[in-house]
Structure formats: C-alpha cells, structure tokens
Amino acid sequence: MTLGTNVMKNETILKVEHLSMRFGGLMAIDDFSFDAKRGDITALIGPNGAGKTTVFNCITGFYKPTMGMITLTQRDGDQYLLERLRDFEITKVAKVSRTFQNIRLFSGLTVLENLLVAQHNALMKASGYTVLGLLGLPAYTKASAAAIDKAKYWLDKANLTERADDPAGDLPYGAQRRLEIARAMCTGPELLCLDEPAAGLNPRESAALNTLLHSIRDDGASILLIEHDMSVVMEISDHVVVLEYGQKISDGTPDHVKNDPKVIAAYLGVEDDEVEQIEEQLDEGRI
C-alpha cells in the first residue's frame, strides 16, 4: 500500500480521448481530451453546468459516452477501456472508485460496516462466494479479520475511529465526506474520483480533507477531483483541467491555469479593461 510517491510519476494512469456525451439535442461534452498522471492530484474545474459531473459519470460508468475512448493503465501495465465496462466492473476490475456530490453513505449501517461493504468483492472471493464462509472455514475468518484491519487503517486516516460503531447517518457532514472517501479507498482503487469533496465544508473540515487527500496520494493512489472551491484546487492539485460548455479551455499546472486569460474570462469573469473593449464593440454593433 505504501508505494513511493515518485516511483512511477509522470506515467499516464487515465487517458481520456475525444470524449463526447450527447443528451438528446444537448452536447454536454464535446470532444474533450485530457491525461491524468499516476501519483498526481488532477483537478477538473469549470463553471456551473460546464459538464464536469458528466465527465465523471462517463469515467465511472454511470453514463455510456456517445463517443470517445477512456483508457486506464494499471500499475502492472494492464489496460482497460472504461467505456466498455459496466459501472460496477469499473470499480471491481479496473480499480477506479468514486464518491458523490451529494453524499451517498449507507446511513443505516455503522461506519465500520460501510467500510466492510466496500471490501465486498475481496471478501466474497475469500468466503468462496458465501458457500465456504457458511461452513466457517478458517480462510474466511482470516479474510474478515484482514478486512477489519483495513477498515481500521482507513478509519484512523479519516480520523473516524471514535465513531466506528455509530450509524453513518449520525455523523456530522464533514465526517460523512471523509467516511465516503475512506469507503472508496477500501475498494483498493488505483484512481480515486472525488466529486466536489469540499462542498459544504467549513475551513477546519476543509483542512482535514486536504490532509486526508495528501495522505491518500502518498499511499500511491492517484486522485481525480471536481471542485468549485478555487482555494482548495490551487492548494492541493498538481494538475488542473478547465472545462467550459463541455469543452476544454485550459490544461496545466495550477499557476499556469490561474494566469490563463481564457480561464479568467470564463471562470472568474472578464477583466475591467476588457469590459471597455467589449462595450466598444457593442456600440459599433459588431456583437
């Protein structure tokens, strides 16, 4: 689990090529391509309605893209075309896991149980698809103890050990966010996709989240995240991709993106002197 951070950096883990998604007459994503590098935190940003979540849903299999190719390269060199896999296979086989913009926890299960459900596939195999487990063979007992250890590891990382036996629905909002991330990590992903992880968090919770994300990256998983909160994006990400109206308008390091005039125009608004220019153009009736 503790692979060195820089061992395989700069190797592409996720390659999205010519991705398009059409909903009826609406082109939500139009010929969108980007790469995410292994060991990086890649951020996907853009104004409301730019199509960020649609890209996410395409990558994680909740939508089937109209066009395009999404290639995932695993650490051992195996490659998967995500658009051809079913949604649960993307987590099970290709090892990409995700969280949701509106938290989707199993609120009636305890925090620990949430993390055990995430290890379903490993435990299923260990229990001989339930048959051997029903007989109480030691292999399954050992596997379930290992699963609890793994859950403990992530509880500790997410700072939730104290609440392990409480129902997930009883946690405060920030803790629920961290639990959802810990749960996604319990599936043992190579790429973790986070949909607005900092939404609705107060500054302190936000700081705790940043620590968690950094420690996940240091553990060897790559992160792809959607974020609205620019301060979070600029602080933690290594690579930023900017999306507007379903098209990529900028791609690079946070500093590069921050100073890209296209991004400033699209995301932060148009600068003052440009406003004058546009007004002039308006007067001349060119727009």
Binding site: G108, L109, E113, T130
Partner: protein
Amino acid sequence: MAQSPATENSGLMAQAVKEALVAAAISFGLFVLYVGIETYQDINNALVWRTRWGLLAIFVVIAAVSRFVVVGFIKPHLDKRKRDKAKAGIPEVSDGKTFFQRNFLKLALVGLLIYPPLSVMLAGTQGSLKYVDNFGIQILIYVMLAWGLNIVVGLAGLLDLGYVAFYAVGAYSYALLSQQFGLSFWVLLPLSGILAAFWGIILGFPVLRLRGDYLAIVTLAFGEIIRLVLINWTDVTRGTFGISGIPKASFFGIWSFDVGADNNFTKAWGLSMSSAYYKIFLFYLILALCMLTAYVTIKLRRMPIGRAWEALREDEIACRSLGINTVTTKLTAFAIGAMIGGFAGAFFATRQGFVSPESFVFLESAVILAIVVLGGMGSLTGIAIAAIVMVGGTEVLREMEFLKHVFGPDFTPELYRMLLFGLAMVVVMVFKPRGFVGSREPTAFLKERKAVSGSFTKEGHG
C-alpha cells in the same frame, strides 16, 4: 404555566368532553348504516331491514368514553411522565436489562421445545391437537414464511407482493412429485426449496431491473399468474379441486405415521392411536425449519452477501460505485427468500395432506408482508412476535365463544379478523412506525455493539 392547576384541570375536562362528543358524532356517522341498520331475509325470501339502535348506542358510547379517557386521563399522564423524565435528565432508553430481556431468545426457544408435551399434559393427547396444530404449527409456518420474506423485503429492500407464489411452488412440487413418483418427504423437501429458488431466479431476471412500485406490481402479477396456472392447468394440477391424499412425512424413514403401515409410530412405541403424535412431530419439524431459517439469516447477515443486501437497501447507486454487482446480489436475495418459501410450502402440503389454489391467494402474500412490516423489517424477533400476535390472534378469535353472548348467536368473531388485522396495523404504525423492533443490530463492531436506531435505516426502493 400561568394558570392554576385547578383551572388547568377543568379546562382539560371541558376539552375531553368536547372531544368525546366529536368522537361520538363521528362514530355515529360511521356506524349508523353499518351497525344501526341490518338487512335480512324474511320467510318469503324478501330482503327487509330492521334497526339495531341498542348495538349502535354501544358502539357510540364506547367511542365517546374511550376518547374521553384518552384525552382526559391517559394523555396528560403520559405527558407528565415525559416531562418528569426530561427534567430528571433520564434518557428515554434505559441501559439496564432485566434477566428476562437478556435471555429472551433462550427462554423463548425452551418454551417452544416444551410446548407440545406441556399441552399434552394439560389438555390430554386429543385435546392437545388444537394447541399444537392450530396455534403452534400454524403460527410457525407464518414465522418461517415471514422470515423468508424478510430476506427479500427487510434486508435487500425489494418489495415483493407475490411471495405466496414461491410457497405455492413448494407445496405443489411436493404434492405432485410425491404422488407421481412416490418420493419421500425428505427427498422432496430440499427439492421443493430448490425448485422455488429456481422460479425465484426465473422471475428475478426480467423483474429486478425494475424498482419500487414497478417491482411491487410485477411481483404481484407473478403471484397471480402462478395461481391462475394452478387453477387452469387441470391436467396436472386438477384445477380448483386441488390435490388430495398427499403422503405424510415419516420420521426420517424409520417410523411412518400412516395408520396401516407396519412401522407405525404409535404401534412401535405402544401408544394409543392418535393423530396428535403426528402433529407433535410436525411441530418439531417446522420448529427445526424455522431455526434453520433463522440460522441462515443470521449467518448470511454477517457474510459479505448479507451486508451487500443491506447496503442495497440503503443505497443501490453507492453499491454499484463500490463494485458490487447489484443484479446478482438481488437475485441471491430473491432466490434464498424463494427457497425458504418453498420449504414452507412443502411442509404445508404434507401437513394439510391437501393443496388447492385457494390457499395461495394474494391475501396470503399481504398477510405475510404485514407480519414483516409490523415486526420491524430485518428483525427476526420482532417478526416472530408479529406472527404470534397476528396469526395467534385470529386463532384466539375463534375461541371467543363468550362474544356470542354479547353480540348475539349469529356473531362469528373470526369474520372480524381482517378488521382487527387492519386495526392492529394502524395502531402499531402510529406508535411504532418501524415495527415492534425498529432498530437493527450491526453485523460487526470494534468496541461495542450499539443497535442502530430505525430512524437511520431506509426501507429500500427497489
């Protein structure tokens, strides 16, 4: 709190009287046609009517008096107790458990094991029939069915309104195969379960992509289809006549319960001829089947598949995002629930010695589902209690001869069982919206096992 206690009290009484009058008016309006007027046929077969003002008055007075008592005395008392508790800072749920609460399950099991000999001792061999058969076996069949449905509805959150179809498949499997091929109960019991599970999977494949209301409607339709096939496929099932003369189960092939057989149980043990021994044997058999169901349910809940069922009930999309194949997970829940229904069906057939489509109507599905909901979805104890209350309650109604003295000689109390069923459901749902046992036991824990309150768990939507 500015009022003095005296004025507060008289205000309360005035309100109680007012509400009692309203209740009386409402119950008068409700019952004036149903109870106040009765139609009957006279000597010329003409339909005429007469009034029953006395009975109507009893109904109205009961409504008024109970409303008065509730508003005037019970509610203030409960409020006061709640206020006192809040003042004293005692939490609503006390942690201390009595001996009875801690050992409830063990005591219940022991009670069930000694129930048949006890009823023989108290009521005699022949007299015990009623208690062992009508109460014991009848209730335990429903306990088993409800526990089976609990896997589908309570754990996996799939609303199945056609559960009785699998019960029918099990019953007819046993009835037909035992008559056609002469196979014994012990061969056919597992086979009936497997056939029912097979039908569960066949149904599951097309149906489980539906969710919520749609799933409920399709399962309802499936239940009806099975029943209509049983009625109309007369060559095989003999239609509405049903199949009679279904062989009895034997004591693992060692002793038979057939009267003419050489190895007859009563002969072998030198007992007097009575069907009570067979019923007692059946009682232990269904008890064993129930225990098997409970064991499997408890075991499976702690396995990954059981956790996946509960996760599915909580949030299906999150399940898929964690790499869980929701289709196979739903199918296993459906198949295992159906298998238990099939076991219960085979037992039902051998107990009755007769099966007909009459036994597998939609009402049965509804009753089983009502037991699951009343007991608290997912809770085995709660469901068992609900089955005892519901099924036992309707049996008790048959025994209430004294009601005839109150309501007249042609009053048949068991006709009112559905009314009471509905009433009980309304009452339980008002006071315990999550059923008798609304909380769930976690399947794994680090430090302490805390019950999860029902307010966090979901009912499922698929």
